[in-house]
Symmetry: C2
Subunit: 433 residues, 2 copies
């Protein structure tokens, strides 16, 4: 490729993208080769394919299967550079991004920093429960689960074996459902082969959901089926039940019941991961940045927010904001890339309209629910569809190949092969996104 | 499998194996189904295939490709159990192993705890250099290398770019040679694609070796060829050169020269990883446990040591002890398994004789040296042979498949795909084995 475009030589316009998630990498693809100087900033040097984090946590995949090096993506793209840095503050007035490796001036800004786990201000809960939003967190959870099994075998922890082998997942969205399903399959297939000394019936998996059904974003029919799948695998599903408190051992539920567990996985809420410097007046529900129909931040022509971190009420069908899912992020990023070029060409911006292609969740082997364009699938076909779509959505052929090989192996062997405590979990989980 | 043998019901004889390395897993295989109660203790829940650690460090393989869960190996073997525990002390007199999860009594003991990096008492060196003996260490090194590249791009560290991009490997054994070769290939193939902003000629790779040649265990011819391969890849090889001091930035060499580097990889020595409780009088050269020709510890009929941690001078061909390599460990473990059964049957023990099948090392793509049974191969064929043998030596079909897929991918793409800083290296490497 011969080109006159070069990041070092380009001076303006300079776009800074904060975050290499689904929106960030979509922007990289769309702006590749364009006469815009682009700097992508992320605190990690890789993109995380979050939908499969629960498979890392449950030992089905290694982190390298779902993480994609951002430099591999950006590599030789002439107009785009990557900087691994932690954003410390954004100064919208000064068009400045302050980071731990220095300050960056911009002409245009796109905040695509995604979301973090939401504990709704409950500090005790936050300190004692496990999150599942990043690779280190997924590895921590994998270690924690396996360490609990080891504790159960060695009999070193005083107290009931039931507490050690009791796993509680809170939140009936896709992450919660899929994590609970994976834990149930571990009980079914891994415990009997690896821990012959343990009575596998002592292991319990609970799924706690505050609303009336799991997978509330799907149809009632799919919710019902997902619940049935979970119960077939032996997961105890508690609907209309909220968590009142959890001190690391004792879990108190809203209906007065209590449960003892060493492991509570919190998948019951997310909130915008907003960089410092954005005024509170610009934040809406779920700590998300208020944007207009063009994803512009209130009062700033040149500052945008897209994806999970953005709250848009201008899309008629979604007056309460869009769901915090990957397709919204990708579509907003794609439109922003076009709008930026329209703006530079003096054209009017186009307003965002979310096009919902459907949703899906897998519970376990041959068990999934999928809804798309009016089609509803459940069971085996939905499960194949789920796998196919996730393979297509993964970034890069290598990761697709590695995930495929691992899935095939796990399917044939009924195993989750990566039962490694690479770094023991010591009680302090990597917090934040 | 129907069997009357059961770990819980078996009372004696009880064998404790310390360490799930090459010797440990060979013992598990050999003693599977035998009327002996066996407890394998390791502080990790996995076996580490150490010969490929350098490929994890250089981003060619993920940890799950070379680590094998010990419970997957032991699984349903009726007479063997695994305990994840740190050995705190061995009391040979009392036939007791004290660990962080409790005490274990034994009738027979086999210490197979392997080796640790030897800094020959140089504390400063130990604190400032990187080791490569365990999975966490390999991941730390991977992070460190990538973080140095990021530093070089961001220009945040004061001082010369040369120091940041200068990598020094100390020790010309297989680990040192292979690591230096991998770094040189990163310069050749990864730097130009991922770090287009950097001048790749600024990156230097040095290999420092105190003796007259690299791969001293091989023939002079192979040593010479390996050196040529390294130099073809651009590695600067310094023979007859020792490290005098290294403070984390300034490296002083024995010939008075100095070099600046942020990254020194120490592969210049190993020593026995001896559990506490073994008297100093029982330790020989390289901190290894003195054993007789049957691997028995001096003065104890029922306590054995095998592999790297054992020092045997009774094998006529090896009056100065055996090399600290996997084949010795496997052969000693295999003989010990037979000798234990002979002992239990009242038969005489058989003395150990090491059968050297040869050795090999790979420098880079199409570049390896291999010697076996008088055959000497160099270059392409040796490289194919090296890969084939390592695939065969890996534990478990899944790991073989995953390594094969990754190798094929890396070969075709000229990449090391796993360029992930999963956990940033913060300056404190996991020490010890």
């Amino acid at each position: 490729m011969t080109t006159s475009i070069n990041y070092q030589q380009l001076k303006s316009p300079h776009l800074i993208i904060i975050g290499g998630g689904f929106a960030g990498i979509e922007l990289v693809k769309q702006l590749s080769g364009k006469p815009i100087k682009v700097t992508l900033i992320d605190k990690n040097n890789y993109h995380t394919f979050q939908p499969l984090l629960y498979q890392v946590a449950s030992g089905g995949l290694g982190p390298d299967a779902i993480a994609y090096p951002l430099r591999k993506l950006i590599g030789r793209i002439p107009n785009i550079a990557f900087r691994m840095a932690k954003v410390e503050e954004i100064q919208l007035e000064n068009q400045l991004v302050r980071t731990d490796i220095g300050d960056f001036s911009y002409d245009y800004l796109c905040i695509a920093s995604g979301s973090a786990t939401n504990f709704f201000g409950n500090k005790e809960l936050q300190e004692n429960s496990m999150e599942l939003k990043s690779i280190p967190q997924a590895l921590d959870l994998r270690s924690k689960i396996l360490q609990e099994f080891e504790k159960a075998v060695s009999g070193t922890e005083s107290g009931k074996l039931e507490r050690i082998l009791n796993f509680v997942v809170v939140g009936g969205g896709p992450t919660g459902v899929e994590t609970a399903g994976a834990l149930a399959e571990i009980r079914k297939h891994v415990l009997p082969s690896d821990y012959t000394e343990l009575d596998k019936t002592l292991m319990q998996v609970h799924l706690v959901e505050a609303s009336e059904r799991v997978l509330a974003a799907m149809s009632e029919n799919s919710s019902q089926k997902a619940k049935e799948f979970l119960e077939q695998l032996g997961v105890k599903v508690h609907l209309k039940t909220a968590v009142q408190s959890y001190d690391g051992q004792l879990l108190k539920l809203s209906d007065g019941r209590t449960m003892e567990t060493n492991t509570l996985i919190w998948a019951a809420g997310v909130k915008g991961e907003v960089p410092a410097g954005i005024e509170a007046s610009n934040l809406g529900r779920g700590n998300r940045i208020l944007v207009n129909g063009f994803n512009q931040i209130n009062g700033y022509e040149n500052a945008f927010a897209v994806g999970d971190v953005a709250f848009m009420s201008a899309d008629e069908k979604y007056p309460n904001g869009h769901p915090m899912v990957a397709p919204v992020a990708v579509q907003q990023a794609s439109l922003f890339a076009k709008n930026l070029q329209r703006k530079l060409a003096g054209q009017d911006l186009v307003a965002f309209r979310y096009f919902d292609k459907g949703s899906m969740a897998t519970v376990g082997r041959h068990k999934a629910v999928l809804e798309s364009f009016g089609i509803k699938m459940q069971g085996y076909l939905a499960w194949l569809g789920w796998m196919f779509l996730h393979l297509m959505l993964l970034v890069g052929y290598r990761n697709r190949l590695v995930v495929f090989v691992n899935w095939l192996w796990n399917y044939l062997s009924y195993q989750r092969a990566i039962r490694l405590i690479t770094r023991p979990y010591t009680g302090k989980q990597s917090k934040g996104k």
